[in-house]
Amino acid sequence: MNKSILLVEDDQNISFAISLLLQEEGYSVYQAENGIAALDHLKKHGTPHLILLDMIMPGMDGWQFAKEFTKLYDSQVPILVMSAAGDVEQRAKDIGANGWIGKPFALDDLLAQIRKHELS
């Protein structure tokens, strides 16, 4: 069975491209446009093997989502932060994420991060 990834990203093009690429690598990718949609997905489908999280999103941003997620799911699901901000590493630390990747990035770098942190 394919490993599942929850992709929380408001930019439709970025979300589309990442999904396309990860699907070709054999992942099941679920897209959510913000934290609200992501929580909604988790509620319906349970936790994935990894969460890819953008930080700045309308509706519910990455910080709020991480807070809610930690509160609702006492899980080991790793979170990878994706951000175009200069202080992406700090943002990842803020929410206790497992790893981070700065936008823009090469797919290989993203895959390396995913493979390093994904649940087995």
């Binding site: 930019d11 093009n13 970025i14 700045i56 309308p58 941003d61 901000a85 936008k103 823009p104 797919l107």
Partner: protein
């Protein structure tokens, strides 16, 4: 013969005897050998010898050896020269008292003309001698006093008009005693023309009021030199109280006058300096009474100087202010140390508070004893204001520098997002091609959006930079804003055909002087934001309202709304604040600050009202008539 015998009877008779014994002078006659042949009662009294005892004896019987020798020597001279002479003799009386006598001695001749002896009349002049000696001393002292005081004495006999001047008077008035005789008019003629009448009047008044004359006037020497004279005088009056004489002295007080004038000048100079300074200057005595305040202080408190001098703090200030100042001043008087204070001083009358920097210091006499305190208060309100303004400006500059850094962070973030989309889309396309999969055209079509966004961002960044530097020139033209809004709206309808959008505006054309390209840019930006940042299923409305002097464009969305604390900095490119929350909402920022710049160049205003959960309304107003520049 009858007359002669009558004369004889007079000389030999009772009368002569009575004369000799009745006089207060000692009278005596001696023969050629110096033996007394006549010795009157007074002589007997002075010598303390009975007449009978003396007759037939010479002076050695009466006096000590030295005195007798002197007397006999005088007698010898009279008889040798055969003329009457007057001598001063000193004789010790029977009571042992040394007294002075004036003796007139002359030869006595017989009827045949032979010298038969001498007569003597001796008068006691001891009192007179003493008086003379005293007078001499008094006179010496007077001269001494006059000379040392450079004083001249004048004596005016009012009845005769005669005036007497001591020699110094001539010197004082620059007059030559050989040419000028002392008269009242000579005195008056020597005076300075401006002072003559006044000096005259002073004398008149002193006599009239029976007061001491005290008068100052100038004297003009023939050389033109001017001297100051101080005259004092005393009047003498007859039984009826009419003035008969005036006696006085004159003194040269030129040096004193010069010194006084110098002092006055110095004082005037000091007062001038003290009154010209904008700082308040004051001084108190040890009883906390004002002894000096300058003009600046009088002006500050709007109190005339003479109403303050001599008053205490409590007379001048409200109680609480006076209490506070009194305590501070008392400390300085007690400790003798200076104090520098900065305090806010209320001006009761002006109703304003000024910040004063005051230095207070003890005033000491020559021996170092504190005799009061002085102070200088400088109004530093303006300086304080400038200081705080400067500080404010510094803070603004620092904030600007901080927000510029924040701006660059935001700009970089904004640029990275479309770049990431393009990069990932291209990577996806490449993978598919590498694996021999077909590439759907829709994947490539997706590239347009981030590329457009990137292009717009670059334009926005350039516009912001040019607005900041004032490099944007508007191309003004009268424009129908109804058509402008309608066209812009239609374009967005084409771009987002699924979005529920509406436009409401005036049915008739409304012409406004504006730059149509720039205003279209503003309106597009607001519509673009509304579409981009609100959920796709919420409607968007565009309104155009005509107002008396302006038109208002409003873009209304029904999205999540914007928190109140972020509204303020929404339109400011460089001061978005440090708050993480504001940065999170980026994407709205750059375009809005461009919009604000353009609207303000048109003389208009831009604003937003928003309620979280209800949506936002972005609007801008433009004046219908272009403001004259």
């Amino acid at each position: 013969m009858n007359r002669l015998s009558a004369e004889d009877s007079l000389w030999n008779g009772q009368t002569l005897r009575a004369l000799i014994n009745g006089t207060t002078d000692a009278i005596y006659v001696k023969d050629l050998c110096g033996r007394y042949t006549l010795f009157n009662a007074v002589a007997s009294q002075v010598t303390g010898r009975a007449v009978q005892d003396v007759l037939g004896k010479d002076d050695t019987f009466l006096f000590s050896a030295d005195e007798a020798k002197a007397v006999m020597e005088a007698d010898r001279r009279v008889m040798t020269e055969g003329v009457t002479k007057t001598f001063e003799e000193t004789i010790t009386t029977a009571h042992g008292e040394v007294r002075h006598y004036l003796s007139t001695k002359g030869p006595l001749f017989s009827e045949k003309g032979e010298m038969i002896g001498l007569f003597g009349i001796t008068r006691d002049i001891t009192e007179r001698k003493w008086m003379e000696a005293s007078l001499k001393k008094v006179n010496e002292r007077l001269v001494m006093a006059q000379e040392s005081a450079r004083a001249g004495v004048w004596d005016w006999d009012i009845l005769t008009g005669k005036v007497e001047w001591s020699p110094q008077m001539y010197e004082l008035f620059g007059l030559d005693p050989r040419k000028v005789s002392p008269t009242f008019s000579a005195w008056k003629a020597a005076l300075h023309p401006d002072d003559a009448a006044q000096a005259d009047l002073r004398i008149e008044e002193a006599l009239k009021n029976k007061q001491m004359l005290s008068s100052e006037y100038r004297v003009v020497f023939s050389s033109g030199q001017i001297r100051w004279i101080y005259a004092t005088g005393h009047g003498y009056y007859d039984d009826k109280g009419l003035p008969i004489r005036m006696l006085g002295i004159c003194q040269d007080i030129t040096q004193k006058k010069i010194a006084e004038e110098k002092l006055r000048e110095n004082e005037a100079l000091l007062t001038n300096i003290i009154d010209s300074t904008p700082s308040s200057i004051f001084a108190f005595d040890c009883n906390h009474r004002f002894v000096l305040i300058n003009q600046a202080m009088a002006d500050f408190y709007e109190m005339p100087k003479d109403q303050v001098l001599g008053k205490t703090l409590h007379d001048v200030f409200p109680r609480e202010v006076a209490d506070r100042l009194y305590a501070a001043n008392q400390k300085i008087i007690e400790n003798g140390e200076s104090l520098l204070i900065e305090e806010d001083v209320p001006n009761k009358r002006m109703g304003i508070v000024r910040t004063m920097m005051t230095v207070k210091f003890p005033l000491k006499d020559a021996r170092g004893k504190v005799i009061g305190l002085g102070g200088v208060a400088t109004d530093i309100t303006e300086r304080k204001r400038l200081e705080s303004k400067l500080l404010e400006a510094k803070e603004v500059a620092e904030a600007a520098s901080r927000s510029r850094a924040t701006f660059l962070d935001i700009a970089a973030h904004e640029l990275r997002t479309p770049v990431t989309a393009i990069s990932l889309l291209l990577q996806a396309v490449r993978r598919r091609i590498e694996k021999g999969h077909a590439v759907d055209i829709s994947v490539l079509t997706r590239l347009y959006e981030p590329v457009d966004r990137l292009a717009r961002l670059v334009v926005d960044l350039l516009d912001i930079s040019r607005l900041e530097r004032g490099l944007i020139d508007l191309q003004w033209s009268p424009t129908d804003v109804v058509a402008l809004a309608s066209n812009c709206f239609s374009e967005f309808q084409l771009q987002a055909p699924l979005r529920q959008m509406s436009f409401k505006g005036p049915s008739e054309a409304v012409r406004v002087e504006l730059d149509p390209v720039r205003i279209n840019q503003v309106l597009s930006n607001l519509l673009d934001n509304a579409i981009r940042y609100t959920p796709g299923d919420t409607p968007i409305e565009l309104y155009l309202e005509q107002r008396p002097d302006s038109v208002r464009f409003s873009v209304v969305d029904h999205g999540p709304g914007i928190p109140r604390e972020q509204l303020g900095s929404l339109f400011q490119a460089f001061s978005r604040g440090k708050s993480e929350a504001t940065i999170r909402s980026s994407g709205l920022g750059l375009g809005l600050s461009v919009c604000r710049g353009i609207v303000e160049l048109h003389g208009g205003t831009i604003g937003v009202s928003s309620e979280v959960g209800q949506g936002s309304t972005f609007y801008f107003d433009l004046p219908i008539r272009r403001a004259s520049v």
